[in-house]
């Protein structure tokens, strides 16, 4: 539904976005993942016509954004929840959006209820909102026109854990009804939990894309986190099987799939109290793929 084709944006000699192509499909949540400054925001701004591309193009449902009549009715956009007038109330911000799109004012109340902003909160000025409240308002603004495509830049930023869970459910439901969702984040954990499809970007280039399973297969052996009543015995058995074992908090981190750890525990007769996917596979992959684009990498290079 969102089609990015050979998109490039340069600023003088600096290439912010370097010949990227990808598709965000309807019915799926596509995560756009990369470290700060990787080009995620620039790409999203080009999508909605705020920044002109140097080369390439983006179509949404086959149209250039500029050619979509009353675009708020088709594409919901949240680029920066703080980019609203600090002196306007939340309700007024939504009212302006609704009026522009030609929607009844009742839609404002519906959206406020959807994102759980109370009538009292909606009358407060934006400058008195927490970041989490601004994000909720921004999501309400993006959903005002009942669009079939959502473009959200760092929507989970500033939300508390309950807020993130709420947003996950909201976007999941939205995609299940056939909507297209593209959301960016610099936090792997956030995207991992919510996205069906992931696009990894580093220094303006796409370094990997695919669903979580595909990406994990690229990332090599998964790891597991395990806690048992006898960690020492368990570690000995696992090491005996040739797995790398390290300590992690009260338990162990094992470079092996959970099934292998479970089997070892069964054989050793050790009672497990916790066994789960270490998740590091994807994180390692993410860091590895973007390593030459990470700021930390530069520091290591300097100190070495």
């Amino acid at each position: 539904m969102i089609h990015v084709e050979g998109l490039t944006r340069t600023y003088g000699g600096f290439t912010a976005v370097d010949d990227i192509s990808f598709v965000a499909q309807p019915g799926r949540v596509t995560g756009f993942l990369g470290p700060n400054g990787a080009g995620k925001t620039t790409t999203m701004r080009i999508m909605v016509g705020l920044t002109p591309p140097s080369r390439g193009r983006v179509t949404i449902g086959g149209h250039l954004y500029h050619d979509i009549p009353n675009p708020g009715r088709h594409v919901g956009v949240l680029l920066d929840a703080s980019a609203q007038h600090a002196g306007r109330s939340g309700r007024e911000i939504l009212t302006i959006g609704a009026r522009t799109m030609g929607l009844p004012d009742a839609r404002v109340d519906e959206m406020l209820a959807l994102v759980s902003l109370s009538p009292e909160e909606s009358k407060r000025r934006l400058r008195n909102y927490s970041l989490g409240m601004k994000q909720r308002l921004g999501i309400a603004h993006a959903l005002l026109g009942d669009p079939s495509v959502l473009i959200l830049d760092e929507p989970a930023n500033g939300l508390d854990p309950a807020g993130i869970r709420w947003m996950r459910g909201l976007l999941k439901g939205y995609a299940d009804r056939g909507g297209t969702v593209l959301l960016s984040s610099h936090l792997l954990h956030e995207v991992e939990m919510i996205a069906d499809e992931m696009i990894l970007i580093g220094r303006g280039k796409i370094v990997a894309q695919g669903d979580k399973k595909t990406l994990l297969e690229r990332g090599g052996a998964p790891s597991s986190l395990v806690t048992s009543l006898d960690n020492g015995a368990l570690a000995a058995v696992l090491q005996g099987k040739g797995f790398v074992v390290g300590s992690a908090g009260e338990g162990l981190k094992v470079e092996a799939p959970a099934a292998e750890v479970g089997r070892a525990a069964l054989e050793a007769g050790v009672v497990l109290t916790d066994l789960r996917f270490g998740g590091a596979g994807l994180e390692d992959l993410f860091l590895e793929l973007t390593s030459d684009t990470q700021r930390e990498g530069l520091n290591e290079g300097a100190s070495a």
């Binding site: 309807p26 019915g27 705020l50 002109p52 680029l79 609203q84 007038h85 306007r88 959006g97 030609g102």
Partner: protein, 257 residues
Amino acid sequence: MSMTLDVSGTAQIPFSRLVSVELRKTADTRAGRWLLGAIVGVTALFMIIFFFVADANERIFGNFIGIASTPQGFLLPVLGILLVTSEWSQRTAMVTFALAPSRTKVIAAKTSAALILGVAAFAAAIVTASLATLLGGASGGFEGLSATVVLLFLAMQLLTVLQGLAYGLILLNTPAAIVTFFVLPIASGIIFLLVPFLRDIAPWLDLGTAQQPLFDSFGGDSALTGEEYAQLATTSLIWIVVPFMAGWARVMRAEVK
């Protein structure tokens, strides 16, 4: 789950809707309401003061209008400036242009909104000046009043609003645009007054000098000559129309952040 978006059933956003949204934006913040209130309040205050300090024979319609034009000429352009620059200082331009990608339409809507408020302020000034003249004016307070003078007054107010918009569009920064709007005419006036070589051509190049006969005509002085009209047109072109077009061009190309 088709890959294409059917937009055939969606109408374009009508221009009138954009204008009404822009009008709403002038009054939906505390700062905006203060500014609108100040325009009304200060105009009324100026007229009341003039009413009591002026000699009876000076209380003519033209003078009342002239008094009203001073605060309005200062404050209405600020309204125009804010309508443009607050989108950048508050970063709402990102939202505005995402909802209405045609920047031409948005700028035209902002211009229309500012001009509508200018006309409303003008109408209010006419009504108040008429009342003041009727209530306590000199006998024959409406004498020598022509439709031309009234229309010129309106045209000048609207041009001043456009001037504010123009500096807002060029600078896209509230303090810079406001300072430029107030300081530039003063600086220009001083330069044209002090440099002998420039003094002779000042009416053709300095907006303030060219507008002086217009102010005088409100007070009952003779109507403008053809040359004075030409000078008004030339200076308006230099100081208002050209900056407005330049500012417009800037916004068309600007990256919205």
